[in-house]
């Protein structure tokens, strides 16, 4: 899939003022009264009142265990919880019964990786055949994965004897598809990759990888943590089998994430966590399980957070995901232009707006990212420093650590100016020639 340069306008000053007024934290100050310039939404986004109110509303009006009990509160609570599922499904063009609530994307990906090993252990029954994996089989990831979409697969490989392979990354931060036929082969059971890189900003060509995976019959798992919050997403268009994202990166609460799966894939997929609420019948010896998505939701769920996430989806829908994407695109352009004007920095990732999201990572030559982040912080500018949970990718670019600015709908052009003003103080402090 290619993402065309959006024709829509960024948010106007008036629109931005209205949006920012919805996020109470954005008006606080840090480090002796400096206005907060929050450029770390890739790690976690801030939350609007609508989300906070929805969570609070659950506890003040509805709190009861969903799907457990026949009293009024439980009924209304169940309805609200299932309503949240439907709203979130609508946000990504899915059916409600294809949405599995997890605590975050990490848990969603682990649920899939464990489904494979549970199936290998015979726990999947006949339907779980697609999830059967063992020695001789292959798992494919990429060199640009977040640890959340790498380590679960390393562990699956260790548990089952399947081998782990990966697609590499080019110097300009794109996936190297020249060897895709050698990497994704008849032995490949699963291909797991990131939609939008949390470090490089790269938006990967889902179409090309799905096409190759289809040819060899592998399941496709997409880490959509950094795409669902920033781009209009329609799971039917993407064509993948399973997709994971976290609520807290898309204006929603912490503690709620989603595993989406095509209906027949979820039906076939073995369970990971087991216990209450996911069963159909139970005897002392064995149990049968409820249909998906319930079979994947053992235990009393994070209902308030699910409702908060639905409120976040509604908030984003009201902004318009195409406008959100256009706005962040414009700000990304400002960041890329600004770094290009500063030859003492080195961008890690594509220096082009084509198929690119709003995570902009860079190195200040001769200064460690920790020091850069500290100076920015002193000016009230919050960025992420380190390897951003993508250590192998940083090794690939021979960078021990990078500084990352990442965007959300509430960021403004003025904040980009403030960011560069703070960045420009770095060379002087560390005696770097500019």
């Amino acid at each position: 899939m290619t993402v065309p340069a959006p024709a829509l306008a960024a948010f106007s000053d008036q629109e931005l003022a209205r949006i920012r007024a919805d996020f109470p934290i954005l008006s606080r100050t840090v480090r002796d009264g400096k206005p907060l310039v929050y450029l770390d939404s890739g790690a976690t986004s801030q939350k609007p009142y609508a989300v906070l109110d929805a969570e609070r509303g659950w506890y003040t009006e509805l709190n009861a265990a969903p799907h457990r009990g026949a009293h009024a509160l439980s009924e209304e609570g169940t309805e609200a919880y299932e309503g949240a599922r439907a709203t979130i499904a609508g946000f990504i063009g899915a059916r409600a019964d294809e949405i599995v609530f997890t605590k975050n994307a990490t848990e969603a990906i682990n649920a899939v990786a464990y489904a494979f090993s549970n199936s290998a252990a015979g726990g999947g029954g006949g339907a779980g055949e697609r999830f059967r994996i063992g020695p001789g089989d292959e798992i494919v990831v990429t060199q640009m994965e977040h640890h959340a979409n790498l380590i679960p697969w390393q562990e699956l490989s260790a548990r089952t004897g399947a081998s782990l392979k990966w697609l590499e990354v080019t110097d300009d931060g794109r996936l190297d598809l020249s060897r895709v036929r050698e990497v994704i082969t008849e032995r490949t059971k699963v291909v797991a990759f990131v939609h939008a890189s949390n470090v490089l900003g790269t938006i990967n060509p889902v179409d090309a990888i799905v096409a190759r995976a289809r040819k060899v019959g592998a399941l496709v798992v997409l880490d959509a943590c950094q795409s669902v919050p920033h781009l209009p997403i329609d799971v039917a268009d993407l064509g993948v089998d399973l997709l994971a994202f976290s609520g807290h990166k898309m204006l929603g609460p912490m503690g709620i994430g989603v595993l989406w799966g095509r209906r027949e894939v979820l039906d076939a997929m073995p369970v990971f966590l087991t216990g209450g609420s996911m069963i159909e019948t139970v005897t002392m010896e064995r149990a049968t399980y409820a249909p998906a998505p319930q079979k994947f939701e053992a235990g009393v769920p994070n209902a308030a957070q699910a409702i908060g996430l639905a409120a976040a989806c509604n908030y984003l829908t009201n902004l318009g995901m195409d406008r959100v994407s256009a706005h962040e695109h414009a700000l990304t352009g400002i960041l890329l232009d600004g770094l290009r004007e500063r030859p003492w920095t080195r961008l890690i990732g594509p220096d082009s707006l084509e198929n690119r999201g709003g995570a902009v990572s860079f190195v200040v030559n001769g200064v460690h990212a920790h020091d850069v982040g500290q100076i920015l912080d002193e000016h009230g500018v919050a960025v992420r420093v380190g390897h951003h949970c993508a250590w192998p990718l940083h090794r690939r670019f021979k960078a021990a650590a990078t500084t990352r600015a990442s965007l959300a709908p509430y960021n403004t052009p003025e904040e980009m100016t403030a960011f560069f003003a703070a960045l420009d103080t770095v060379p002087g402090i560390f005696g770097i020639e500019v």
């Binding site: 200064v367 460690h368 990212a369 920790h370 020091d371 500290q374 560390f430």
Partner: protein, 149 residues
């Protein structure tokens, strides 16, 4: 800002006694997993004396400068001095600003006093010191033992 004292920048740019040298009695490799800072540190002992401390570090200015200061302060010193210095530096760094540090005891490392107010950076400043403690433990010496004053 008071964090980046001139001394820190100087040590970070030209770390003293840097590089790995032989002979040595123990070598350790420590990393700060949140940011990827790394140090490989070797210690050579001549009885009670730390005859050489050599290291290779990759990290932020705070972690590199701290390692350089450590090597300056403790090379050629005896274990008692190492214990006193280690305790004083650690106390200052972990005090959240309550312990301003004593220049008489910790020398250039006094420049690290400002780090105590930035919890995320304390680990950077302590990286080499913890590596030294670990390396000495491998030679059978406990660095955090109370020294008899």
């Amino acid at each position: 800002m008071d964090l980046y004292q001139e001394l820190i920048i100087e040590h970070a740019k030209r770390p003293h006694r840097a590089g790995l040298r032989a002979p040595f009695d123990a070598e350790v490799h420590h990393v700060n997993p949140t940011c990827g800072d790394e140090v490989t540190l070797r210690v050579a002992r001549d009885g009670d004396v730390l005859s050489d401390i050599s290291y290779d570090s990759l990290g932020c200015s705070i972690s590199v400068a701290s390692g350089s200061m450590l090597a300056d302060l403790l090379t050629g010193e005896n274990l008692d001095t190492a214990r006193t210095t280690f305790a004083a530096v650690r106390s200052m760094l972990t005090s959240k600003g309550a312990d301003p540090g004593d220049e008489e005891v910790i020398g250039d490392a006094i420049a690290l006093a400002g780090v105590a107010k930035y919890p995320a950076r304390v680990k950077c400043a302590l990286l080499s010191w913890m590596a030294l403690a670990d390396a000495l433990a491998k030679t059978g010496v406990n660095l955090s033992e109370e020294s008899h004053v």
